[in-house]
């Protein structure tokens, strides 16, 4: 079986390449959109004190643990023919998978961002107030100081996106050469008893996961070194 797995990995299997391509396209787009939503959301929560912050924080934390099938169900209902966005005919497309992923990942990036910002914001706010810096300038300085941890949160979002199965299966439909991604393909191939492709895809997933974790680890180490140097 190892030989067959290696042949798949280093050969020119069109289905494998297509699955990897769709997976990366979906994960990159959903992570970028989630970062555009989640980072401002997290910064707003972490850097400021405002009425309703506690409830917003609780909602965010709840959404961080949103079960993928629930996210899939919501997006499915919204995009289905009788749903509010049914006319767009997005169901069973990569776009639908990206939307489901954004619903799942944005709160995760927002929550992690809020944690990162809230660690630094009180000290930055007080320091800035002491020298007459307020408003956007203060906010910009806070964002600038958190830029490296932000990369970590985005990478964590990408890691979550690429490993997601439940929601993308529901709204993508696992259609061959269209919406099949690594996780849904692994599940299907395993159910069919075709372990070679499942293992080959699992290896690719593990390698990507290892690269992401190494990057996160390296960034965290660098940040730690900067703080203690």
């Amino acid at each position: 079986m190892i030989k067959q797995v290696l042949e798949l990995l280093f050969g020119a299997d069109p289905e494998l390449r297509q699955i990897i391509g769709v997976t990366l396209r979906m994960s990159v787009f959903s992570t970028l959109i989630s970062a555009l939503i989640g980072i401002p959301w997290g910064v707003a929560m972490g850097a400021n004190q405002f009425k309703g912050k506690a409830i917003l924080s609780r909602i965010t934390n709840t959404l961080m643990g949103l079960p993928p099938v629930v996210a899939g169900l919501i997006v499915f209902m919204v995009l289905s023919r009788s749903g509010p966005l049914g006319k767009l005919s997005l169901l069973y497309s990569v776009s639908a998978m990206v939307i489901a992923q954004v619903v799942l990942i944005s709160p995760i990036i927002a929550g992690m961002t809020a944690n990162v910002v809230s660690l630094r914001a009180p000290s930055i706010n007080e320091t800035c107030a002491g020298i007459g810096i307020f408003g956007w300038k203060r906010l910009w300085l806070t964002i600038k100081e958190c830029r490296i941890p932000f990369v970590t949160t985005v990478l964590a979002g990408f890691g979550r996106s690429i490993a997601e199965v439940g929601a993308v299966q529901m709204v993508g439909g696992n259609i061959q050469f269209k919406t099949r991604v690594m996780t849904t393909a692994i599940m299907m191939q395993t159910n069919m008893g075709r372990f070679e492709l499942a293992v080959a895809l699992g290896v690719v997933l593990l390698i990507i996961s290892f690269i992401i974790n190494s990057l996160v680890h390296r960034i965290q180490e660098q940040t730690q070194r900067d703080r203690t140097a």
Partner: protein, 225 residues
């Protein structure tokens, strides 16, 4: 003149500061002493406007420029010089002024070092330079030399004296060192458990404190120092 009336500040139902009336005269130097949790930082934060009093009023700060050095100032991850220049954004001579104040606090050799890589004492001196680079009507300093060595402390105290002399600002600072309060302040305030116990001319308070609690605090300090 800054006047506090019936100021009460609570955190989680606990009263951390209760001041029926307190006045700070313009161009005078005030040193606040007291143990941890006595309300020094809370009072400075209220004066700086970084927190609002639960009840009561603070008058006399309208239209005045207030500079404030918090107890744990943030050291930004850019250079020491840029950290100081931050307070002078848009100023034509920002670089020159920042370099000058860094010399005054003995930090000129570290001007190009990264702010977030300084030692605790260096970071404190950089933060002080960042505040002192501008002229304020009221200057609030929360334990400005708590992390610095004796030599740097002398330099900072001298710089502060010159700053007050030049700007004629009202200086209000907190310190754990009654000796520093005596060296820098015209008047000393002793706070205990959020209440002002005694206020008076520095020398008078140290040589003949009126309140038993002030006596006990100063006695304790002289034994432990």
């Amino acid at each position: 003149m800054i006047v506090l009336r019936d100021v009460i500040q609570q955190f989680g139902g606990r009263v951390v500061l209760e001041i029926p009336e307190l006045r700070f005269m313009s161009s005078r130097r005030y040193g606040m002493i007291g143990e941890n949790g006595s309300g020094k930082t809370t009072l400075l934060r209220l004066l700086a406007g970084t927190s609002k009093p639960g009840s009561g009023t603070i008058e006399g700060l309208e239209g005045k420029t207030v500079g404030y050095l918090p107890q744990a100032p943030y050291a930004f991850s850019f250079s020491v010089l840029q950290n100081v220049e931050l307070a002078l954004e848009g100023h034509r001579e920002a670089k020159e002024l920042a370099e000058k104040v860094l010399v005054a606090v003995g930090m000129e050799s570290l001007a190009n070092a990264r702010g977030d890589r300084l030692s605790g004492g260096e970071a404190q001196r950089m933060a002080l330079a960042r505040v002192l680079v501008r002229s304020y009507d009221v200057l609030l300093l929360d334990e400005p030399t708590s992390s610095t060595d004796v030599r740097s402390m002398d330099l900072i105290e001298q710089t502060l004296r010159e700053y007050v002399q030049r700007t004629q600002c009202t200086l209000i600072f907190s310190t754990h060192s009654p000796a520093q309060a005596l060296r820098l302040a015209d008047e000393v305030l002793y706070l205990e458990k959020g209440r002002l116990v005694e206020q008076g001319p520095a020398r008078e308070m140290f040589h003949s404190p009126r309140d038993e609690r002030t006596k006990a605090f100063l006695r304790h300090w002289s034994f432990s120092s």
